[in-house]
Subunit: 503 residues, 2 copies
């Protein structure tokens, strides 16, 4: 269902190139703070990667795995769930419901109701404030923006130049979030968030032989080291075979499907050759080796920018190097933080800034202008929905030290709390704070454990609010909840300080 | 196992009257910040009500009920758990393990390892810094404190003067947390936290006819109104019969057990007469009608205080009206906030203050002295582990207005979030912020919903850190987690402000 946009219309206040979650937010904010009229230009589904292909379906697959895992470790429920595997059909049906069966009707309806137009097609910049849209029928439509163009074209999975890999038609993230049958043997290539989450649900959904091949020596290498170690241990417990410090040198797949549909078999067995000469035969290969910005075919040279790469933006999300204050970029394509919530944050800022500038620089009426946004851009939270979950914000100790910050750190075992003891048997977890000595405020925090996703926001608030550690001590966590990790961390920090000053 | 305390010893630096969680913390802090030697005087179990009779066993009973409820509403797991009731024996066994089968060996060992002595017996003040302990054998032992006595005698369940009620030997909170068999018909008297939590686990464990009788018109009356409404709706869904605005005028139980052991049948059927003249026959009555301070038999008159009642303390937990800076009170008996975590907070403060004063007023080396503790005492968090959970901190709108604070408020449906939609089907919840217009900071926050317990700490940090609302906007919640309620609340608040200013 397309919105009823006047097919002759050629001008809007704001053009959003790419109608993903962030783009929708930018248009919404520009509208609500200044009444600006926007149009979303989208070639696929309005709502974008996150709604249909990434966050939502992946969490939809992971949640039943997590709950079943908890049930299996909680007397009173354990005997009820028995030894049977998860109900795969029900999980996949729910996943389909979560992505609205790949229909963007409701998103389009939201846009129309919000006063935002939708133009279907593939958009490319052709000059200042001008976008050419290639419509589904192949015809071209040129539209212009009175005030701003916001680029929200996102990113796409990167498939590296390994001999035979592309020809073998591996699964990318879209396939593994949309799997329709469970392969018996799977190789997951990668060790970051996508690889670890996919390995978690694949094991949970019944893959018999899962092998994760990762060039690095640790999983989740951008997190505190204990996070990857805990996730690795749990993956191994659930039957995964982890080959760390290993890479794939060649792939051979004799029988490749003529039409490689999303999430179904892409051919017959494939054999991977590893850098130690060993071979591994699997039924499907999942490539989770990072993403590249979708910026190499959106007309950047027409506005004086190099083709491809991340779009460099300032704290108002304006693209650097383009005069006239009209070009903004948000979401993955600006490369600041490849996370939906940060894309939406950038979108809110861009929307407010565009509204303000359209008003001649008047106050936008929102919150974006009230505080230097630098702190918000720094306190980037991320949750990896593995077992255990890994929730972090800000810098790791290593990143802080590399940034030249004089930090002290403290760690504590999340399992040594009444609040986690109650949650389930065999709870594993760990937490860490990274404190800037100069200001006595947090520069980073990491929580690994079952159910820590919402505990994280306390650390984000502490960072953004620059709440000193000495004040955090007066923020009492409820007993008996996992939040008491704060008490233990701060007590330990204080003890370390006294021991240090005694020494 | 009692600790090996020299039976002749008669003097310590600090005497703690009542060795519950808070008392342990006060002794620990006095020791670690100033090397003070403490003794815990305890007539029952070291570790106290919370460890053995309240928080821990109740959460141990509630957690499997919660997880089973989630499993029943999550496709993929639902078909595995089937229609069978919860495995009651396994739940009760785990409850027993959680309370260490009512042995305080590990707590005593912790005390000894921490350098804290334990004297078994019932203590009463007999004058300044002096306590007489009636030992289990009935003999008396008088001990004195060089620096301080800390009263942590807690509270006990209140059983009101309803004709026939006491004679019917109703269950109190200790019985319902330690139930050993599931009565078929139960009446729960009360509508506060204990009543609502007990009704939740009783229904979950298979009570066939549960009737909750509450004098007030709403459950959880100290919370925002929607909290009690949501909990009432879920209790009714799980089969409870709620009689609100009703009270019991008389109780008749013909057959009363000669020895009314904890958590077993206290007799035959009991008939309650209600204020509308109707009758209700049940197998057990649970009285959850509040608590009274355990202060009417601890020798208060010997130090010039009235007997009984809450002990009035200042922000350093020193009891008002007693000269000499030697008497402190913490936990339920001081009446500030009848919550274990607040008792422990008060204990940390008292411990540090005692340590500091013993050092001649020097810096105690902890955090207590670094900030006015007033903000910590104000930002009292509380989690009620019902379905939905209710987590709140600070003041409700009504309490804030009664305190003369000019507030604006905002509410949002917790079910209208991607993060809660993923958790389970039929998610219900609601959230509210209460903002002080003068300072643009939070004075209260409430979250009701499944799994909000750890989300609460973000609001506590915001309150204690006095983080302005405009800065909270830059604390980005992770997508897709329930934490995004913050984004929706703040967006709605901002919209309300603009609409208000337009009007």
């Amino acid at each position: 269902m397309a919105a009823a946009v006047d097919p002759e219309r050629s001008e809007w206040d704001v053009i959003v190139l790419g109608g993903a979650a962030a783009g929708e937010n930018a248009a919404q904010y520009a509208a609500q703070f200044s009444g600006l009229e926007s149009v979303l230009v989208e070639a696929e589904l309005v709502g974008g990667e996150c709604s249909y292909w990434a966050c939502m379906p992946s969490k939809g697959l992971l949640r039943p795995v997590e709950v079943l895992n908890t049930a299996r470790h909680l007397p009173g429920v354990t005997s009820l769930v028995g030894e049977n595997g998860i109900d795969v059909d029900a999980v996949l049906d729910r996943r389909d419901a979560i992505v609205n069966n790949l229909s963007d009707d409701s998103q389009v309806r939201w846009a129309v109701d919000t006063g935002i137009d939708v133009v279907r097609g593939y958009g490319r910049l052709t000059g200042e404030r001008t976008v050419a849209v290639t419509k589904p029928d192949g015809s071209l439509r040129t539209i212009t923006a009175r005030h701003a163009v916001v680029v929200d074209t996102g990113s796409r999975a990167s498939v590296p130049d390994i001999p035979g890999l592309r020809a073998a038609r591996p699964w990318i993230s879209r396939d593994v979030t949309h799997l329709r049958e469970i392969p018996r043997r799977v190789a997951v290539l990668g060790g970051g968030v996508v690889a670890c989450e996919a390995a978690t649900w694949l094991c949970g959904l019944g893959v018999e032989e899962l092998t994760l091949v990762h060039r690095g020596s640790a999983l989740l290498a951008k997190q505190e080291p204990f996070a990857g170690e805990l996730v690795a241990a749990e993956l191994e417990k659930s039957g995964a075979n982890l080959l760390l410090g290993r890479s794939v040198t060649a792939v051979r797949r004799d029988e490749v499907a003529a039409e490689a549909g999303v999430g179904i078999a892409h051919g017959g067995p494939a054999t991977l050759t590893l850098d130690d000469g060993s071979e591994l035969t699997v039924d499907e290969i999942v490539v989770a080796l990072g993403r590249v910005p979708a910026s190499d075919d959106i007309g950047l040279p027409s506005v004086g920018l190099p083709n491809g790469g991340y779009l460099d933006v300032d704290d108002q999300q304006q693209v650097k190097g383009v005069p006239g204050q009209w070009l903004y970029a948000i979401g993955d394509v600006c490369g600041r933080a490849l996370l939906t919530h940060m894309g939406k944050y950038q979108a809110r800022i861009a929307g407010e800034v565009i509204a303000s500038r359209a008003n001649g620089g008047g106050a936008p009426g929102g919150f974006a202008a009230e505080l230097s946004t630098a702190q918000g851009h720094r306190a980037v939270p991320q949750v990896t929905f593995t077992d255990p979950e890994v929730a972090s914000v800000g810098l790791t100790e290593q990143a802080a030290r590399e940034a030249g910050i004089d930090v002290e750190t403290v760690e504590y075992d999340m399992a040594a709390l009444a609040g986690t003891y109650l949650l389930r048997e065999e709870y594993t977890g760990r937490a860490k704070l990274v404190v800037d000595r100069a200001t006595d405020t947090l520069v980073g925090a990491t929580f690994a454990g079952s159910g820590v996703a919402d505990l994280l926001h306390s650390a984000t608030v502490a960072m953004v609010g620059r709440v000193p550690v000495s004040a955090l001590w007066h923020a009492v966590p409820s007993y008996p909840t996992p939040s008491e990790i704060w008490l233990r961390l701060l007590e330990t920090l204080n003890r370390n300080r006294r021991l240090g000053s005694d020494a």
